[in-house]
């Protein structure tokens, strides 16, 4: 316990310290074992070549395995030289190492002097710090983070589902986030549309969302599509994106989005919420079913109330929107099992998830084997178009 209680200047007086230039020469000569006494996420951002990571809490336990020879010359460093001073003291005073020195100033001084470090390529120092909790995951790593940074995701609807999805996708470092919405922030949205704020009531939703995203993560390029998707613009809007997040508040947009995304072969992560329930599935064209395979025709208006008309628990938007964000990240990074061919229902009152199988419909007019190419003006339409035109248009 002496280690934690004693002031650093007392400790510094009884250990050897070397400055960065001396350390560099010793390391170059090759006689010293170099130990990094920081946390794994700091190591991931940048470390000295040839160093071994032994986090501070593990020094007394593990150092004997790493350096069995007590007479070995050892150089220790951390960020600024404080944690490594304590570690050097413990090794010397408690564990019997005879030739230990602390590198004063740590890796921060090392880098200030422009000396080389081992750091992930393709990311800036700020990005290595920002995304370190991602890159620490073997499933993501630097490679996965670079995929996220290079990805382009389109959010259809900057409302209930779009808000949490946009926040977390932005935080995750999705490089380009497109936002489609032609609405303005209303005070009644704020119960669930957490990307907006009270002082932005009356502001276009895409603009309000852009302000929040830019404050959260300057890496994200936000593209505002302040419009309503229709058959004349949908192909143009979708064309440049890798993944589409469907958080639309009406059936016409959902069918339109489906037909266009099948045409462009782009995956759609689709969710909907009502009351205390939500549904989510991923539609990957020709790999799994499409939205029309699952729902060949929309229900009549009286069976399809909007959230505005029927109410929705605000948290439902968060839960389902984040499940969408999670699916997007899996698709972009290429990990896990996507929700293709599966529909997940979340019942928040019972806290129950139900999973249903969704199969490709061999008679699907859009993705079935006999589907005929339809003109762009027909995207999103039905033989009985009038029936779904009665569907709700405002959520």
């Amino acid at each position: 316990m002496r280690m934690a209680a004693e002031p650093l200047d007392v400790i510094r007086n009884r250990i050897e310290e070397v400055d960065v230039a001396e350390a560099r020469d010793e390391i170059a000569a090759g006689d010293a074992v170099l130990i990094d006494t920081r946390e794994p996420h700091e190591w991931e951002e940048a470390h000295l070549e040839g160093a071994t990571l032994v986090p501070p809490a593990e020094v007394t336990e593990r150092i004997g395995e790493v350096i069995p020879d007590r007479s070995q010359r050892v150089l220790l460093y951390c960020a600024t030289g404080n944690r490594s001073a304590r570690a050097a003291d413990a090794m010397q005073s408690e564990l019997g190492y005879e030739n230990v020195a602390n590198i004063a100033g740590g890796i921060e001084t090392w880098q200030e002097l422009g000396l080389p470090v081992v750091a992930p390529e393709g990311m800036t120092r700020e990005q290595r710090i920002r995304y370190s909790r991602h890159t620490l995951l073997p499933e993501v790593g630097v490679e996965g983070q670079l995929k996220l940074l290079n990805s382009k995701v389109l959010l259809v609807g900057a409302g209930g589902l779009g808000s949490p999805a946009a926040l977390y996708l932005a935080a995750a470092g999705v490089g380009t986030l497109g936002l489609v919405d032609d609405d303005e922030v209303d005070a009644s949205n704020l119960q669930r549309q957490v990307i907006h704020s009270t002082d932005r009531v009356g502001t276009p939703k895409t603009e309000s969302a852009r302000i929040t995203i830019e404050g959260l993560n300057p890496d994200v390029d936000v593209i505002e599509h302040r419009t309503r998707l229709d058959s004349s613009n949908v192909i143009e809007v979708l064309r440049d994106y890798d993944v589409i997040v469907d958080g639309a508040d009406n059936f016409p947009t959902r069918y339109l989005l489906n037909d266009a995304s099948v045409r462009l072969r782009k995956p759609v992560v689709s969710a909907s919420i009502l009351g205390f329930e939500g549904q989510i599935s991923t539609f990957a064209p020709f790999e799994g079913p499409c939205y029309r395979c699952l729902y060949p025709v929309p229900p009549p208006a009286e069976l399809a109330p909007s959230c505005g008309a029927a109410g929705v628990l605000g948290v439902m938007a968060g839960v389902m929107g984040l499940l969408q964000a999670n699916e997007v990240i899996k698709l972009v990074v290429g990990i896990g099992e996507p929700l293709i061919g599966r529909l997940l229902i979340y019942d928040s009152l019972g806290t129950r998830f139900t999973e249903l199988k969704v199969r490709r419909d061999p008679e699907c007019p859009i993705c079935g084997p006999d589907a005929e190419e339809i003109p762009e003006s027909e995207l999103g339409k039905f033989p009985d178009y009038e029936a779904f035109c009665a569907g709700t248009a405002v959520g």
Partner: protein
């Protein structure tokens, strides 16, 4: 007795019940027994010719009855029949 899961849009017709236990040998029987208990569900489930409305999906446990035997799909007491309507709410 099989359990029928009632989606939010139909709960006004079941007195707010999210699950209803009804007897029946097959999916059609079960749904017709539901309609007998809660008549308000009929026009939402069935077309005038007695067929299921195309916009309503019915699952036996996790499988769409369309890939089984439709309304003739046999049901046992431990089964769950899920009524799944499309929902469009996103905002």
């Amino acid at each position: 007795m099989p359990t029928v899961k009632i989606p939010p849009v139909l709960r006004a017709e079941t007195g707010g019940e999210a699950e209803v236990d009804v007897s029946g040998e097959n999916v059609g029987d079960v749904l017709r027994a539901l309609v007998a208990t809660h008549p308000g569900t009929e026009h939402q489930l069935f077309a005038s010719d007695g067929a299921l409305n195309r916009y309503v999906n019915v699952y036996l446990n996790d499988e769409d009855v369309r890939v089984l035997d439709g309304l003739d799909t046999r049901v046992s007491g431990a089964d769950t029949v899920v009524i799944l309507p499309a929902m469009a709410g996103g905002a």
